[in-house]
Symmetry: C2
Subunit: 208 residues, 2 copies
DNA sequence: ACGCAGGCTAAGCGCTCGCTCAGGCGGCGA
DNA sequence: TCGCCGCCTGAGCGAGCGCTTAGCCTGCGT
C-alpha cells in the first residue's frame, strides 16, 4: 500500500544503491543540507561535517560538489518516475489510474520532501550536460500523466478541453507539494495524496 | 482589463516607488540576477555590473545584499496581494470573483515571472525578522482566497469538502506558475490565466 | 567664486569558499 | 610478517566573496 515510509528524522529512498557506505553517508548529508539551505548556500565543509568526516574525505568519493547534486537529482528523479509509473501502468480505468498516480506522486513529494525539494528546485544549479539528462527524465514524467488523461478522454471518462495544459497543471500541483509540505505538520502525506487525487479528478471532469 | 503589461525585455512592477534613480536601477538589476541564478549564487559585483556601476556604489543605497532581497520581496508581495485583492473584492458572485482572482493572480505570476520567482522562491534566504514580515503578507493572500471559497460554499455555488486544503491547492497551483512559465514560450499569461481559472472552478465544483 | 554634500570609484581588507596534497592508519592477500 | 591499497585527515592554496575606506568629481546654494 504505502510505497514510502518515513520516521521523524528522515526519509527512506533507496540510497542503498550508493556505495561504499561512506559515500552514501555523504550523499544523505548533502540531501539534507541542500534541502535546508539550497545548493549554493551549502558548503562542502558543512556536508562533510554532517557525515562526521573531514572536508577532504568528500573528494575521495565525488569529483566535485556538483557531482553530488547530479547523483542526488538523477536517483531522485528515477525514484519519482518509478513511483508514478507503477500507479499509471496498473490495472483499472483511466479514472482509477489517475487517482492512483496523483496520490502516489503526491505521497512521494510529501513523504520524501527533503529529497523532492532538491530534485525539483535545485535543477538549474547543474551544468548544461547534467541538466539535459534530468530534463529528459522529466519529459517521461509528463508523458506518463498525459497518457492517462488521453486515455480518459478517449474512453469518455474525462472532459478535458486542453490536455497539454491540464497535464501541466496537474504535475505543477503535485510538484509544488515539496515546497509547502510539513511547514506546520498538520496533514499526513496520505491525507494530502487523497485530497489531491480528488481535486485532480474534478479538474478532468471525471464523474467520480 | 489587463492590470499588467509586458514587453519582450522586461516586466513592469512599479519600482517607481524606489528612489533615487540609481537605487532603482540597482534593484531591477538585482531582481534579474536573483531570478536567473538565485540569491546566494548572485554576487554584489554582478548586480552592480548589470546596473553599470562599481561594486561599491551598491552600498550607498543599500546597507547589505540582503536588504536588496528584502525590499524586492516586500514590494513584490504587496503588488501580488494588491492584484489579488482587486479581483477578490470586486463585484459579482463567488464564482465570478474566484475566476477573476485566479486569472489575475496567475497573470501576474506569468507576466512578472522574474519578480515572482524571487518573491516566491528566495524567501528563506531572508533573516528571521524580514522573513516573518513577509510571511504575514502571505497569510493575507491565503485569507483572501479562502474568503471567496467560503462565500461560495455558503451561497451553495461551490461544493468543497475541505476548504483549507482546497485553498492551499489553489494558491499552490498559481504560485508554481512562476517556476515553469515561459520555459518554451507557447501560451501567453492571459491564456494560462484563463485555463487556470477554469480548472479552479472545476476544483471547487462550481456549476460553471 | 567657493565650500560642501551627495554620488560615485579604485583599491583592498578579512574571510571563507571549493578543492588539493602529502602522509598516516588499518586490514588483507601472500 | 610485511607490503600494498583503500580510506581518511591536517594543512593549506588560489580565488572570489561581502563589504569598507579614502578620496575624487559635479552641481548647487550663497
Amino acid at each position: 500500500m504505502s510505497t514510502a515510509k518515513e520516521t521523524a528524522g528522515g526519509e527512506m529512498p533507496p540510497w542503498a544503491e550508493v556505495t561504499p557506505d561512506a559515500a552514501r553517508r555523504l550523499l544523505v548529508a548533502a540531501v539534507e543540507a541542500f534541502a535546508e539551505r539550497g545548493y549554493h548556500a551549502t558548503t562542502t565543509r558543512d556536508i562533510a561535517g554532517r557525515a562526521g568526516m573531514s572536508p577532504a574525505a568528500l573528494y575521495i568519493h565525488f569529483k566535485t560538489k556538483e557531482e553530488l547534486l547530479h547523483r542526488i537529482s538523477r536517483i531522485g528523479h528515477e525514484r519519482a518516475l518509478d513511483v508514478l509509473r507503477t500507479a499509471a501502468r496498473g490495472e483499472g480505468n483511466a479514472t482509477e489510474r489517475l487517482a492512483d498516480a496523483v496520490s502516489s506522486f503526491v505521497r512521494w513529494h510529501a513523504g520524501a520532501r527533503t529529497t523532492a525539494r532538491v530534485v525539483q528546485y535545485e535543477l538549474d544549479s547543474l551544468g548544461p550536460a547534467a541538466r539535459a539528462e534530468i530534463i529528459a527524465l522529466r519529459r517521461q514524467v509528463d508523458a506518463e500523466v498525459r497518457g492517462i488523461i488521453e486515455d480518459g478522454v478517449a474512453s469518455g471518462e474525462f472532459d478535458v478541453p486542453d490536455v497539454r495544459g491540464t497535464t501541466l497543471a496537474v504535475l505543477s500541483l503535485c510538484i509544488d507539494v515539496a515546497r509547502w509540505f510539513n511547514v506546520n505538520g498538520t496533514r499526513t502525506p496520505d491525507e494530502v495524496g487523497a485530497l489531491y487525487a480528488d481535486l485532480v479528478l474534478r479538474m478532468v471532469g471525471a464523474s467520480k
